[in-house]
């Protein structure tokens, strides 16, 4: 297994196929592994997902880049959760989420879901079906950035 932190930093400057419109979105997935060193300290490594089993924590990393000459306005990145992955968190990137297949969006804490008995309860990370980051200001030409979220293989 390749130590992943190096890999992740290297991925900060991706070189994906750049579309004609000069904006690119690159998608990487890593597996978080916990290992305990001889001193008993736990270390978290991000590895390439060569082996993935239920219960594994996946880290999804999205790198965007505006390689064009014009600012990209109304910039929105949307990632539907794979059905076999339960959303865990998105670090401090504060995405909008949907718990109803993409119809309504909001901060997770503001959303609710209907239980089988008709009552509504506060939405939990496991209810998330889509994640979205919506930028208030245009992405300047040449700018890059990175977003991430974590999920657990169901």
């Amino acid at each position: 297994m390749r130590p992943a932190l190096l890999f992740l930093c290297a991925a900060a400057l991706p070189a994906p196929a750049v579309a004609a419109n000069q904006v690119a979105l690159d998608n990487n997935v890593f597996v978080e592994r916990v290992s305990t060193d001889p001193e008993g300290k736990q270390r978290i490594l991000l590895e390439e997902p060569k082996v993935v089993v239920p219960g594994d924590r996946l880290v999804f990393v999205l790198n965007y880049r505006n390689a064009g000459a014009q600012p990209a306005d109304k910039f929105v990145i949307t990632n539907p959760m794979p059905s076999a992955v339960r959303f865990a968190d998105a670090g401090d990137t504060q995405p909008l989420v949907s718990v109803d297949g993409g119809k309504q969006w909001g901060l997770l804490a503001d959303l609710s879901v209907q239980a089988a008995d008709g009552t509504r309860r506060t939405a939990q990370p496991a209810d998330v079906t889509h994640i979205r980051w919506a930028f208030q200001k245009p992405i300047p030409a040449g700018a890059t950035g990175k977003l991430m979220f974590r999920g657990v293989v169901k």
Binding site: L5, L8, A12, P16, A19, N21, V23, A24, L25, D26, N27, V29, E32, V34, P49, V51, V52, V53, P54, G55, D56, R57, L58, V59, F60, L62, N66, G68, P71, A72, K74, F75, V76, I77, T78, N79, P82, A84, A88, D89, G91, D92, T93, Q94, P95, W105, W133, F135, Q136, K137, I139, A143, T144, G145, K146, L147, M148, R150, V153, K154
Partner: protein
């Protein structure tokens, strides 16, 4: 409804590599649930970006990442006998029931084995057969399948369980109250080992097989307790005659008293007291009693009878700690 990511309007790398590492360090490790996503299935992720660079709204897709879900090897064994199963010395076909569950996420064969000599008990039950249940949960040697290791190892889908019966013989030498423990072990045929051990390319669907938190083998114990009873018979006799003495002269009446005492935690089934009428004496008709109550001589609804040569009193099932007293009389010829 638009909100900005962290930092409001500024664009920057979110989050930094260091930050990811820090967040990861704070997150608790997750345990695998039972079964989970089926081995061999694919997790696909694609994100989209929409924006406007002056030419109108545009949407692009990211590259797609496909992950093959590998097989997690996990199994649990549970004893289905909530309490010790009663047995008796020398008894055959004494059965313990277990449930074997594939808690991994792929179809898997499991090898079964038993251990009866691990200690912690008073005796070692002799395992004679292992049977795989036919689905009704009830042991029946005629309809359940005799298990032969390596020949018909049970194949279980994720979350599927099978009931396993372990048939044993109780040694004849055990004493009342002795316990005998038998464990059933189920091990994934693909392999077992420390959690995380990987078997490349051997998972369902072409991925790897990875040992889960159970070590890919499971074990649980069931126990027998010997519930035995012993019977002690004490016979006494008293003589009365017309002289008012206890001398055994012709015409004297002998009253025999037989006390049956049952001891132990078990009970005795089909207990009967039979006594031949001694030579040179004659049975006194209607003299049989049980617990002080008279019994008729005929072989009928009551427990006693006299057939011309012996008396018999059927006591049926008598539990440990109880006594039965039978009396009858003869006359010296």
């Amino acid at each position: 409804m638009m909100i900005a990511p962290v930092g409001g309007a500024k664009h920057r790398l979110l989050p930094s590599c260091t930050l990811i590492a820090l967040l990861a360090a704070l997150a608790p490790p997750m345990q695998a649930n039972a079964a989970g996503t089926r081995a061999g299935s694919t997790i696909s992720n694609t994100a989209t970006a929409s924006f406007d660079t002056g030419g109108g709204p545009t949407t692009i897709d990211s590259n797609r990442v496909d992950l093959l879900v590998d097989e997690l090897l996990d199994v649990t064994v549970d004893s289905s006998n909530p309490a010790d199963v009663p047995t008796t010395p020398g008894a055959t076909g004494q059965v313990l029931t277990f449930s074997v569950t594939n808690t991994g996420n792929g179809v898997e064969d499991f090898a079964l084995s038993t251990v009866a000599n691990a200690g912690g008990d008073d005796y070692d039950p002799a395992v004679t057969q292992v049977y795989l249940d036919n689905g009704d949960g009830l042991f029946d040697a005629g309809t359940d399948t005799l298990y032969t290791a390596g020949a018909n190892d049970p194949t279980l889908d994720p979350d599927e369980s099978i009931t396993v019966f372990v048939a044993t013989t109780t040694p004849g030498t055990v004493a009342d109250g002795n316990r005998g423990i038998v464990s059933l072990i189920a091990a994934a045929k693909t392999g077992t080992g420390a959690p995380g051990t990987s078997f490349a390319g051997q998972g369902e669907g072409g991925g790897d097989a990875v040992v889960g938190s159970t070590g890919a083998d499971g074990e649980d114990a069931g126990a027998f307790v010997v519930s035995a009873a012993t019977v002690t018979l004490v016979k006494s006799a008293s003589i009365t005659n017309t002289l008012g003495t206890a001398d055994p002269i012709p015409g004297a009446t002998i009253t025999y008293t037989i006390v049956a005492t049952v001891a132990g935690s078990g009970s005795v089934n089909g207990l009967a007291i039979t006594d031949n009428i001694p030579a040179d004496t004659s049975f006194v008709p209607g003299s049989i009693t049980l617990g002080g109550s008279a019994l008729t001589d005929a072989a009928d609804a009551d427990a006693g009878d006299y057939n011309g040569t012996r008396i018999n009193v059927a006591l049926g099932t008598v539990a440990g700690g109880q006594t039965r007293t039978v009396t009858f009389q003869t006359m010296i010829d």
